[in-house]
């Protein structure tokens, strides 16, 4: 299938949730609700104990997920259990991918790490039907082994372009990116914001001639944001914290899973609608 297909016909809405937040069953329902709400692809967070690129909202989601017992192994089962027919992307940190091949050996034993690297995890990811990876702490310079494994198993590797990314680094990413490029709308970490940053348009302008879809994320919260961003030329919007907020609130209030799922679906619809509105305010993006 390939991640690019998600952006083929119209601006894509790409939601993020941490898998297993706040528990396995509810999380399955929530992800499926996003699909029903119009998601074109879904980023599923595999929680890592040191999520250095996340703001408080997603950090807390990760803590809930870890506490409910999420592990890389269960994550793969989670993906397999999902009943959605949009492409799924694994968003996680490199150490988990890297350690997966090690998972049977005693750690804390002083043994030399195996040289397998990311390959075993990518292989399993392909088996359960994941389409790609976003790894925020893996810059292009260090991505070789993961890129190779993804190629081997037919998965995409998404890179993040930041407002501060230099031209030189853009080139390095362009060579390696596939699926879509994740345009970071502002500096900082993930988290819902009340406005849209000007940096977005500038960033989009810098990569306008890239031949992968451009999805913008970081801080998008409402349909209006989505509209503005697509209007500015994005091929899609990535929304995480605003959705995670709904999960967190439901969890704190002890709301029934079905109700929370319905709220997620509703926000998904709003965001997707916003993206579609945005598409009308500008010439349809062209594939080169």
């Amino acid at each position: 299938m390939g991640l690019e297909t998600a952006f083929a016909d119209e601006p894509a809405f790409v939601p993020y949730l941490a898998a297993g937040d706040p528990n396995y069953e509810a999380s399955i329902e929530y992800v499926e609700a996003l699909a029903k709400g119009g998601a074109d692809a879904i980023e599923l967070g595999l929680p890592f104990s040191e999520p250095i690129a996340e703001g408080t909202t997603i950090q807390n989601a990760i803590v809930r997920s870890l506490e409910s017992g999420m592990t890389p192994e269960r994550f793969l089962g989670f993906v397999a259990d999902l009943d959605v027919d949009v492409p799924l992307v694994c968003m996680t940190y490199y150490n988990l991918i890297y350690q997966y091949g090690e998972s049977d050996s005693e750690t804390a034993s002083g043994e030399t790490a195996s040289q397998e690297g990311p390959r075993p995890f990518v292989e399993k990811a392909a088996e359960v039907g994941l389409e790609g990876f976003v790894v925020p702490d893996l810059p292009a310079e260090e991505a070789g082994p993961l890129r190779d494994a993804c190629d081997e198993f037919g998965l995409d590797l998404v890179f993040i372009v930041a407002p501060t990314t230099t031209e030189e680094r853009l080139e390095r990413m362009r060579e390696q990116v596939s699926g879509y490029v994740y345009v970071q709308a502002r500096l900082g970490v993930t988290g819902a914001r009340d406005d849209v940053d000007d940096a977005t348009e500038e960033s989009l302008a810098r990569i306008t001639d890239w031949d992968v879809p451009k999805a913008v994320g970081f801080g998008i919260k409402t349909g209006d944001h989505a509209e503005r961003i697509v209007g500015a030329g994005a091929d899609g919007v990535i929304v995480g914290s605003a959705l995670v907020d709904i999960v967190a609130e439901g969890y704190e209030n002890g709301d029934p899973t079905g109700e929370v799922a319905a709220r997620l679906e509703a926000l998904a619809r709003e965001l997707k609608a916003g993206a579609l509105r945005g598409a009308r305010t500008r010439p349809q993006p062209e594939r080169t």
Partner: protein, 419 residues
């Protein structure tokens, strides 16, 4: 400074730059500044750095012959007195270097993480000295157990930002500072506190700290007519370790001992994700944390464990990549010392030599106490810091343990109250 290639972000398989894209330009800019100012002394940076280290910091620090310990171990023990550096630990060497570098780079603001609070206080002092606004991120657990250092940072005019995630120690503080950096990277420099993090931090911090071994090596030759047989330093992140070892690394006959915190036990609790120690070099395995590939305390999935040590400054699940590399190469011997032995060593140095060491430092002396038979005839131990910050912890932990060597503290209990 060192013969390796300064451009290479790796030490063997360790090191690298595993950071969010938003930070990449900042660390590239930093790597560039490191090469220009630190390695090539552009604009006389290193001259100003060394001159401020001398006048503001109090360098050189002495290499002192330890009368009582030498007699006790029947070997010549020399103490490298980093505890006499301004602020009370080796940390200022690095903090002053980085804050000054930030100034040369035109940055307007400093952030830093801190565990024991020593790096935080050193950074706060350097920032005040060089007139830079400064915010320090510190885990809540550490805030509680290193209160005097929190006061000191505030008094030096820095903001102290409590980090409440996780167990609230150094690991969480570093993660949080990286997040903050990602938000403010354009005008802000992140003064990392040890030889950890993405390139160029491990090399740069080592180079700032290498003044310890530069001096110690010269002083040892001057005092003993030759090189020491052994050099001992405690290792948390590894900055005092690498600083103490750096100039001795090419001296193949000098044995280098990195003493980690054995905590209460070397056994890990996988279920809880807790290692009751911080013995990363001895028991950890390879992984990626805080921007670098290095040895880590992690569970079989790759989740980072909560480490533990009676000394907050050693309480870290990672370690400098260069140190991991030197251990794999066999150049540095990793050893560890548990909480009890460290506390005993704390009291021994205080009573026998009149030097109250930091609890971190006490680990190095615990090692010498236990393994002095294996050491050669001239041992240099780095006194990485003084123990004023640890008084409260020591009293608590000593009372719990009922160590023979500990003084009777009842005069203070009688009078009630905390420190």
């Amino acid at each position: 400074m060192s013969t390796e290639d300064a451009h290479d972000p790796k030490f063997g398989e360790y090191g690298g730059q595993f950071v969010p894209e938003a930070l990449m330009p900042a660390i590239e800019e930093l790597a560039d500044a490191y090469e220009r100012y630190v390695l090539d002394n552009e604009d006389g940076f290193m001259n100003e750095f060394r001159s401020r280290l001398a006048d503001f910091g109090g360098r050189p620090t002495p290499l002192q012959y330890a009368d009582q310990l030498s007699e006790r171990y029947d070997t010549d023990v020399y103490l490298k007195r980093e505890d006499l550096l301004h602020g009370g630990a080796h940390k200022l060497n690095n903090a002053l270097g980085q804050v000054l570098l930030a100034k040369y780079m035109g940055k307007e603001r400093i952030i830093a993480e801190t565990g024991a609070g020593q790096h935080g206080t050193a950074t706060a002092m350097a920032a005040a000295h060089l007139d830079m606004p400064c915010e320090i991120y510190m885990g809540e657990t550490d805030i509680a157990r290193q209160r005097p250092n929190v006061f000191r940072m505030k008094i030096n005019g820095s903001e102290v930002v409590p980090v409440t995630v996780g167990r609230g120690t150094l690991k969480e503080a570093i993660s949080e500072t990286m997040r903050e950096w990602a938000t403010t990277v354009e005008n802000t420099h992140y003064v990392i506190g040890s030889v950890v993090g993405p390139h160029p931090f491990p090399k740069m911090v080592r180079d700032f700290q290498a003044v310890i071994s530069e001096e110690a090596r010269e002083q040892a030759i001057e005092k003993t007519g030759g090189l020491p047989t052994d050099v001992v330093a405690c290792a948390g992140g590894g900055s005092n370790t690498m600083g103490t070892f750096a100039e001795f690394v090419p001296d193949e006959d000098v044995a280098l001992h990195a003493v980690e915190a054995g905590g209460s036990s070397l056994q890990v609790d996988e279920e809880e994700g807790v290692a009751p120690n911080s013995a990363t070099l001895s028991t950890g395995d390879e992984g990626v944390l805080h921007g670098a590939r290095t040895k880590l305390l992690q569970d079989s999935d790759g989740q980072i464990m909560e480490s533990h040590s009676v000394s907050a400054g050693l309480d870290y699940a990672g370690v400098g990549p260069e140190l991991a590399h030197l251990v794999d190469e066999g150049r540095v011997t990793p050893v560890n010392v548990d909480d009890d032995l460290a506390l005993e060593a704390f009291h021994r140095l205080s009573q026998d030599e009149g030097i109250i060491p930091a609890l971190e430092t006490a680990h190095a002396f615990g090692y010498v106490e236990k393994y002095h038979d294996d050491l050669g005839d001239t041992v240099v131990v780095n006194v990485s810091g003084r123990g004023d910050k640890d008084l409260e912890t020591v009293i608590e932990e000593t009372t719990e343990r009922d160590l023979d060597i500990a003084p009777d503290m009842s005069i203070l209990q009688r009078m009630g109250g905390g420190l």
